[in-house]
């Protein structure tokens, strides 16, 4: 059931991300729903699930965009690794944690992805565009992460995926 919830969340997040309007103010940044799903798993689950979610989220994003296959998965795995390394040191169900982790992860994932794309000569953009996009993604992640966290958490609880001591 855990995998079913993960796949359902990722597909839903991909659809929402594709349908969400881009923000001209932040260099067309889009709401990073897929990243938020990865953050949810990184904050609440063990490492193998985090990596699975990160890889699947990356594959979905890459297959739906012009990004070469594997680039987003690398970024999401890096984000997932960092968060799961420190998730025992934070209040992982607090709204403040979700806001902060979402914001920082959005900026970090954007910059890392740009680094990979730039290294592969796949995209060219001025530093101001990259900075605006990173900041925009961070701000949007601060909105999407608490929402995705609550929805996925509710679904996991409803289906009995969350261990009883966490209920």
């Amino acid at each position: 059931m855990t995998m079913a919830v993960m796949i359902f969340s990722l597909l839903g997040a991909a659809v929402l991300q594709a349908l969400s309007p881009s923000t001209p103010l932040f260099a067309q940044a889009r709401a990073p729903f897929l990243l938020s799903v990865v953050i949810y798993y990184a904050l609440t689950r063990e490492q193998n699930l985090v990596l699975t979610a990160a890889c699947l989220a990356g594959l979905v994003q890459d297959s739906l965009s012009r990004i070469p296959l594997g680039y987003s998965a690398v970024c999401y795995c890096a984000v997932g690794a960092v968060i799961s390394w420190c998730h025992e040191m934070v209040f992982n169900r607090s709204l403040l944690t979700h806001l902060l982790v979402g914001g920082i992860s959005g900026v970090f994932a954007s910059l890392l992805l740009f680094g990979l794309l730039w290294r592969g000569a796949v995209v060219s953009a001025g530093w101001e565009i990259v900075l605006m996009k990173a900041v925009g993604t961070g701000l949007l992640a601060m909105i999407t992460t608490p929402i995705v966290f609550r929805l996925t958490d509710k679904l996991d609880r409803f289906l009995g995926n969350v261990p009883s001591e966490e209920r």
């Binding site: 659809v15 594709a18 881009s22 001209p24 889009r30 297959s63 296959l69 690794a81 794309l117 995209v123």
Partner: protein, 295 residues
């Protein structure tokens, strides 16, 4: 437990190293396979979205059902394009009869496509996804047009879908001509302004050319990607490059990129020698427009 975790990371790093260094055709095939499996969901969502929108529209205005209006709008777009195509045929015919008496010409067929997704999910590119792919004769590097003008060029093509890189994307470059002053330049995208207006720029214009705001910019046909005489947009402001060697200008795209719903792809076919270009999105014979480009 710690060893197991370490092993997971080692294996994952190895997998990534392999994936990132796989040959491009193999990666492309895997990616297209994944995209094909997601395309039906995208189609379903778009259908659902449009269905909902049409129900709301029908409830708001009682006379003509929204589905009927949709059909009429699609029909109008198709007919406009056909009229534009036939006009260019007529002009070409007259010229050829005048010069040679008779000429056999090749046709550029158009592939009508529906837009199934707007914008790149990662937001690093300005793209649209169309609901037709290799199975319908779409190949990479085909021009995408609407009756208003050039939209962009196809990039990645899967069996049932294709992506079009829009003219506002900095990654797309178009060889262009300003017919009024008969000078050439390179159009490239400049993204979208903070107010959401699509922007383009044309570089390397002759520094002595009398380029004016409102001048039409057409494709030149050089480079082979875009057929000639497709309307790209209108000049907005003209400036001299800091080096003083050429002029550049801001451009307003002719096609309404924010409201794309149906797009036509130009099938690549050989251009007949001396013949008028069959695909012509230039709506009038005048080479400069009086309309304000920013409107």
């Amino acid at each position: 437990m710690r060893e197991k975790r370490f092993l997971v990371w080692i294996v994952l790093s190895a997998v990534f190293l392999v994936v990132l260094n796989l040959p491009l055709p193999l990666l492309q095939r895997a990616k297209m396979g994944l995209r094909e499996s997601v395309a039906p969901i995208q189609r379903f969502i778009v259908g659902l979205w449009r269905g909902g929108a049409s129900v709301v529209a029908t409830m708001r205005s009682g006379d003509v059902p929204a589905s009927e209006r949709e059909k009429l709008a699609a029909e109008l777009t198709r007919l406009r394009n056909e009229v534009s195509y036939l006009k260019s045929l007529e002009r070409a015919n007259a010229r050829l009869r005048e010069q040679l008496g008779f000429a056999e010409r090749a046709k550029h067929a158009l592939i009508p496509c529906e837009v199934i997704a707007r914008g790149d999910i990662s937001s690093w590119w300005h793209t649209i996804r169309l609901g037709k792919g290799a199975a319908d004769g779409v190949v990479p590097r085909q021009a995408a047009i609407t009756p208003e003008g050039l939209v962009g060029g196809t990039t990645e093509v899967s069996r049932r879908t294709c992506d079009v890189l829009l003219v506002v994307d900095p990654g797309l470059k178009v060889s262009a001509r300003l017919p009024r002053v008969d000078t050439f330049g390179i159009v490239r995208g400049a993204g979208v302004s903070l107010r959401g207006e699509p922007r383009c720029r044309i570089d390397f214009l002759d520094k002595n050319a009398d380029v004016q705001p409102g001048d039409k910019v057409l494709t030149s046909g050089l480079g082979g990607l875009f057929p000639p005489r497709l309307l790209v947009g209108y000049i907005e402001t003209v400036c001299m490059a800091p080096s003083g060697l050429y002029k550049y200008a801001d451009l307003v795209p002719a096609a309404d990129l924010a409201a794309l719903r149906y797009v036509f792809l130009v099938r690549n076919s050989p251009q007949p020698t001396g013949a008028e270009e069959p695909v012509d999105t230039d709506p009038s014979d005048t080479e400069r427009t009086d309309r304000e480009p920013s409107e």
